[in-house]
């Protein structure tokens, strides 16, 4: 429990006092005490069994509908008492001050909601069949009042607690995001109250079971989605075991692509799709024989063709994954160039799918800013300068500008240098097909005939930087 500032202490004290005053002052006549006890117990049970709704440990409980049922059935003071039971929440780790604040806050909110309900024409007590549909408007007013008072009180305390000061506004947005659906759940409070006449307190059980199942189902979906993303990330990293120095490349390209996509203003689904496309774009490299990837000297035409095939190979692998659609085009064409000299199809300009143009920029940027066995990492500014230099020829200018703009706001985390594994010499490529500053050198047949380059079996002698080897072919 962080130390509270004076302003926070005064505020909390005021809220607790107000909540505490509301109950003893109000009229106690007309409260159905058995109903109150049942509702208070129900509220405690609901608060004690929250449903996790996201992996970030946010939870949801059916507390608000129960309080709204109390608003209808018990009137202002009764509802306030039910709200005050929040102080007796069974969670162990709540500090006493926090408990008192919660109890007072909900008591106040319930009192205000019930007063609004009565002011708008509602009647406290069990609704009869003649109450519908006239009850709906006062109930809606009560629901809004409950949410509003709750929101304002929570926001103020978030603003005043120093630990969360600067990020309070963002938390405020999160609270608001939770506040709106809560309004949707308010209707269940009305249902509980309406059925009380027929089945008494059991109406709460009946109403709440489908509600809890619904939230649980949503939570399952969210969990499974996160699991899917984590698994894909792990498997993509497995791909990178082939070339040690490109660990994390897929993830960084994915991140950079998302930055560009958001900057351009893609819809949320497309941003999600490009995130996957970035993750999977180099999967096809596995189809390239390791010897070719590790080759030190200039490549023969066949070897170059093998490398040029990797976008298509990648497509073959991921084609059966259902949701990828547009991402497939991004994977297949991420090595196309705007001037038409790329591969595999030599598309030019706007013929290149948008996703592919984004990934092309992200791919080149990351390859330049990560360390390789034959050179260190380039600083971000230098890489951006290279991007601008080739913008229009290799890269789409719109994407480059968007990336530059995005980077001006969010710093790019340079990848840490990867330690080589002990024992074996680190397998590493000596040419990076993604790096625009060192294009692959291809030897055409004519030249090779006259060449006296020795052919060294490559799996015997990978270039080892620690031995001081320089990649062959560079003179």
């Amino acid at each position: 429990m962080p130390r509270l500032s004076w302003a926070a202490r005064i505020y909390v004290g005021a809220v607790v006092a107000a909540g505490g005053l509301v109950i003893p002052l109000g009229p106690f006549g007309g409260i159905a005490w058995p109903t109150l006890v049942v509702l208070a117990a129900l509220y405690l049970i609901c608060e004690a069994s929250p449903v996790p709704i996201s992996p970030r440990k946010h939870t949801w409980s059916a507390g608000s509908p129960v309080i709204l049922a109390a608003v209808v059935l018990l009137g202002p003071v009764g509802a306030a008492i039910v709200g005050a039971t929040a102080a007796f929440n069974t969670r162990r780790d709540l500090h006493v001050v926090r408990r008192m604040f919660n109890g007072a806050m909900w008591a106040l909110a319930a009192y205000c909601a019930a007063s609004a309900y009565i002011a708008a024409g509602g009647h406290a007590g069990v609704p009869t069949s003649t109450s519908f549909p006239a009850i709906i408007v006062p109930f809606a007013v009560a629901a809004i009042a409950l949410g509003l008072v709750n929101y304002v009180l929570v926001i103020t305390v978030l603003w005043l607690t120093p630990a969360e000061g600067p990020s309070a506004i963002r938390s405020g947005r999160q609270v608001l995001a939770a506040f709106v659906p809560d309004l949707g759940y308010a209707i269940f409070g009305l249902m509980m109250a309406a059925l009380w006449r027929v089945v008494g307190p059991f109406s709460a059980v009946l109403v709440l079971v489908p509600l809890y199942v619904a939230r649980w189902a949503v939570a399952q979906y969210v969990a499974q989605q996160e699991a899917h993303a984590a698994t894909m990330a792990a498997l993509c990293q497995a791909v990178e075991t082939k070339d040690f120095y490109t660990r994390g490349h897929s993830e960084r390209v994915s991140k950079a692509s998302v930055m560009i996509a958001r900057e351009i203003g893609f819809r949320a689904e497309r941003v999600e799709a490009i995130r996957h496309a970035g993750m999977l774009h180099d999967i096809g490299k596995l189809g390239v024989p390791t010897m070719v990837l590790q080759k030190a000297g200039a490549l023969t035409e066949e070897e170059f063709a093998a490398i040029q095939l990797h976008p298509m190979r990648g497509l073959e692998i991921v084609r059966e994954i259902g949701f990828l659609d547009e991402a497939l085009a991004g994977i297949m064409h991420h090595h196309e160039r705007v001037d038409g000299k790329g591969y595999p199809l030599g598309l030019a300009g706007d013929e290149i799918p948008e996703f592919a143009r984004v990934i092309g920029v992200a791919d080149a940027f990351d390859s330049m800013t990560s360390a390789r066995s034959y050179r260190g990492a380039r600083p971000v500014e230098e890489a951006l300068a290279e991007l601008r230099k080739w913008s229009g020829a290799q890269f789409d200018p719109v994407m480059v500008d968007a990336f530059v703009a995005a980077l001006s706001r969010e710093r790019w985390q340079l990848p840490k240098p990867v330690a080589a594994p002990e024992g074996q010499p680190a397998p590493a490529t000596t040419q990076d097909h993604d790096d625009p500053t060192t294009p692959l050198r291809v030897v055409t047949r004519g030249w090779l005939q006259g060449s006296s380059e020795p052919s060294v079996p490559l799996h015997d002698q990978p270039p080892n930087p620690s031995r001081g080897d320089r990649p062959q072919g560079r003179r």
């Binding site: 069949s129 059925l195 009946l206 189902a217 899917h228 497995a238 799996h459």
Partner: protein, 410 residues
């Protein structure tokens, strides 16, 4: 379609014919209610979902039909419709709702519809008998208790029939199939049952408006389940696709992971594994060769069975390390890690899933995509004669039964 499903469909069909005949003869009581509930059932059939494991379900239709069966009063007027009328209205609603699916060419699981209808019929008959007694109409808590028990009975009946059919179709054991069915259907079943009771009770207070109001949470639930099932499918597709990376890079024979996973699944079902365990087994079988990606060059023919034990163990370790990175597949990682351990009869030995994958992998390494019967028999002999107790004999026997069924099916 096998005998169990045919029996089910015939029983449901006869019931429907009898119900419609009787209702036509006697006339419909409460036309407005019948139309409203029938429309709800039709809507529910239209929006049916598929739960994981290829289980078809129509939660809104079932809830609406059950509510109609449990209806005592609408507003202040009693609802005296008979059980036969309930069945007739439900059947008509189901057919109407299924028509757009048929028109669009989508396969309709008639036995699932028949099952749903029979569950509703059970509730309608029983409740009709019990509701005649005045005691229920007098005490709400008695009515509630009866409704709850009947809904539970319907749910159990549905699960038992589904498990029977599934066990026959997939060659699983009935007990395991039943517990799987209950586990998958329980959350949705609870929501459906509660909603049905809710509508039946709320109709007394709110009239037919209760139908619209109380379907809302069920709708949200259904949407969430649909997306959940969707992402389960995507997850499997992703794992399947990415496990083929070993094949693309020439480390492993094409189609190997897929064949091993199908074989392992069949053996796992033969040995009575539950569905969650089968899912882990499937993932592990698909990804069992991932460790080979770290090797500098492919093993000839990708046959790990021909490689030294130390190397096999290393490949398994590498694979497990990759899978563990995901953070959510630790069970799968463990299975993959221990797949190279020999059985040796030690107690407790490697987990069952690992033993299954080892045997399936060995079998496929020897047989591959070849469908020749003799070759399969020879491979099984070799696995059986394994003198250093590498393979669990129980697993090998199950494997031979599965392989035998496959070759006789060709």
């Amino acid at each position: 379609m096998d005998s169990g499903q045919l029996l089910l469909i015939c029983a449901a069909g006869m019931l429907v014919v009898a119900a419609i005949a009787q209702t036509a003869a006697v006339g419909i009581t409460g036309m407005r209610d019948a139309v409203a509930f029938g429309a709800l059932v039709a809507l529910g059939e239209l929006f049916r979902i598929t739960l994981p494991g290829n289980r078809e379900s129509a939660p809104i239709a079932t809830a609406g039909a059950l509510a109609y069966a449990l209806l005592l009063r609408v507003g202040d007027k009693p609802a005296p419709h008979s059980a036969m009328q309930v069945i007739a209205v439900t059947a008509v609603g189901m057919v109407v709702g299924a028509l757009p699916h048929l028109a669009a060419g989508r396969a309709t699981s008639i036995d699932a519809m028949a099952r749903r209808l029979l569950a509703v019929a059970v509730v309608a008959f029983l409740f009709g008998r019990l509701a005649a007694s005045t005691q229920i109409r007098g005490h709400w808590w008695l009515a509630l208790a009866v409704m709850a028990v009947l809904v539970a009975v319907a749910f159990l009946a549905d699960a038992v029939i589904a498990a029977l059919i599934r066990a026959e179709a997939l060659r699983a054991r009935f007990g395991v199939a039943l517990s799987d069915e209950l586990r998958v259907q329980a959350p949705l079943g609870a929501a459906v049952g509660a909603s049905a009771m809710l509508i039946a009770i709320a109709a007394e207070v709110m009239g037919l408006a209760a139908l619209a109001v109380f379907i809302a949470p069920l709708l949200v639930t259904q949407l969430a389940f649909r997306r959940y099932a969707g992402i389960r499918v995507t997850y499997l597709q992703t794992v399947r696709a990415l496990s083929r990376t070993t094949e693309v890079s020439g480390y492993v024979e094409s189609g190997h992971s897929h064949r091993v996973s199908r074989l392992a699944l069949a053996v796992g079902r033969e040995l009575g594994m539950s569905e969650p365990a089968l899912l882990e087994l499937e993932y592990a079988a698909l990804m069992h060769d991932i460790g080979q990606l770290a090797l500098p060059g492919p093993i000839p023919g990708g046959a790990t069975v021909l490689v030294s034990p130390a190397d096999q163990a290393q490949i398994a370790e590498l694979g497990a390390a990759v899978i563990r990175q995901a953070g959510v597949l630790d069970g799968v990682a463990e299975i993959v890690r221990r797949q190279s351990e020999p059985w040796r009869g030690t107690d407790p030995g490697p987990p069952m899933s690992s033993r299954i994958i080892r045997a399936a992998n060995g079998f496929d390494d020897l047989v591959g995509s070849c469908t020749d019967r003799e070759r399969a028999v020879a491979a099984l002999e070799r696995l059986r004669l394994d003198t250093s107790a590498e393979y669990d004999p129980g697993v090998v026997e199950a494997l031979s039964r599965v392989a035998g069924r496959r070759s006789s099916a060709r």
